[in-house]
């Protein structure tokens, strides 16, 4: 059970890092996806707020992923990641009901998939993994990381996020992002 809980925690952290990095590389695309959930009248009035919201969400994902990966003993991170997961689940659910097929930019330009049953199931798996990661781990020393180990993990986390951002940037430049007629 301990292995499962730790694996869920690490996998979610990696997922958040990749997702946040990819979103940061394609802010315009992600802002367009956020726009789907904002009333039409408000969109015209908030030309700056939408990209700002996109940057904030991507940054929150990066920070949550980095903290969760490098400070596994910080118990308060688990409910925070669960809240993020629930938010993702809600977005996937609303997107499936109201905007089926529209691009979700859940992983920036890394994925061209739109809201579908698949994205809904993926979101549910993420919520389940986040709930699993909230379980307490015994014995606690399994989570004990030294300063050197944390620095190495942080470097790897940065590398992963940068890799995701670079890949997403390359794909954003070379792909088209709209629906196929």
């Amino acid at each position: 059970m301990t292995v499962l809980v730790l694996a869920a925690k690490a996998a979610l952290a990696v997922l958040l890092l990749a997702s946040g990095g990819a979103k940061l590389a394609d802010i315009a695309g992600f802002a367009a996806a956020i726009r789907l959930f904002v009333p039409g009248r408000a969109v015209a009035r908030l030309p700056v707020a939408l990209p700002a919201a996109a940057i904030t969400i991507a940054a929150v994902e990066l920070i949550a992923g980095g903290l969760s990966l490098c400070w596994p003993a910080a118990g308060w991170m688990n409910p925070a990641v669960l809240v993020l997961g629930c938010g993702l689940g809600a977005v996937a659910g609303i997107g499936y009901v109201k905007h089926r097929g529209r691009p979700c930019h859940c992983f920036g330009a890394l994925s061209r998939r739109g809201f579908s049953v698949r994205t809904l199931l993926q979101a549910l798996v993420i919520v389940a993994a986040a709930a699993l990661a909230c379980q307490r781990v015994h014995p606690a020393p399994q989570l004990g990381l030294g300063a050197g180990m944390r620095v190495l993990l942080l470097a790897a986390a940065g590398l992963l996020a940068a890799g995701a951002a670079t890949a997403a940037k390359v794909l954003a430049k070379t792909t088209t992002s709209g629906m196929v007629a």
């Binding site: 694996a7 990696v14 904002v38 969109v43 986390a157 992963l160 890949a167 992002s177 629906m179 196929v180």
Partner: protein, 188 residues
């Protein structure tokens, strides 16, 4: 002997799997792109072929419309969607050229696949005075091989496709428009 905490071992594997997955996604997406670009089904119709007519529902008036190539008027068909940021850029550039009278004599038609309700989420689409239509059926535009948006197709006055571009750049739009105007004038 150094004792490695269990979490660190698991985190290392998770990072390795994450990086591996990232590489796979990148190669797969690039592979798809390259095969699309090299294959017979490259985006857009073949340059030099006759353009196909399109029946569409006009978004502004709600009345059905018909695009008939080869009636003497050059045309720019833009396959765009309000949910696609690059398409907004293309529409903004087309609107700018239209406002500057650089597209005089050229029919500009924006063809969307998103339901018209989505126009409300895009200030650019709401503000444009260009004609917007939604093909009556996906089959109406199958001859145009629209594999993604934005796609710009330039058609001369004789109904021949003169330029195709997966682009939203102002310079490309200007070049496409100049090509069809030149070809149409030469034909007269």
């Amino acid at each position: 002997m150094i004792r490695i905490p269990l979490y660190l071992e698991i985190a290392q594997w998770a990072l390795l799997l994450g990086l591996g997955t990232l590489l796979l996604v990148l190669y797969r997406q690039l592979g798809r792109l390259l095969s699309t670009a090299a294959g017979p089904q490259s985006p857009g119709p073949t340059v030099g072929t006759k353009a196909a007519p399109v029946r569409y529902a006009g978004v502004a008036a709600g009345a059905p419309g018909h695009f008939t190539p080869g009636n003497g008027q050059p045309a720019l068909l833009a396959f765009v969607d309000p949910t696609c940021p690059s398409c907004e850029q293309l529409v903004a550039n087309l609107s700018e050229l239209e406002a500057a009278s650089e597209l005089s004599g050229v029919r500009v038609l924006l063809l969307i696949s998103d339901p018209p309700g989505y126009l409300g989420i895009s200030p650019v689409f709401q503000a444009t005075s260009l004609e917007i239509g939604r093909p009556l059926a996906a089959g109406e535009v199958s001859a145009y091989h629209v594999t993604g948006t934005p796609l710009l197709v330039a058609i001369d006055g004789n109904g021949m496709v003169r330029a195709v571009g997966v682009t939203s750049k102002l310079t490309d739009v200007r070049a496409h428009a100049a090509t069809i105007v030149r070809e149409s004038e030469a034909a007269l």
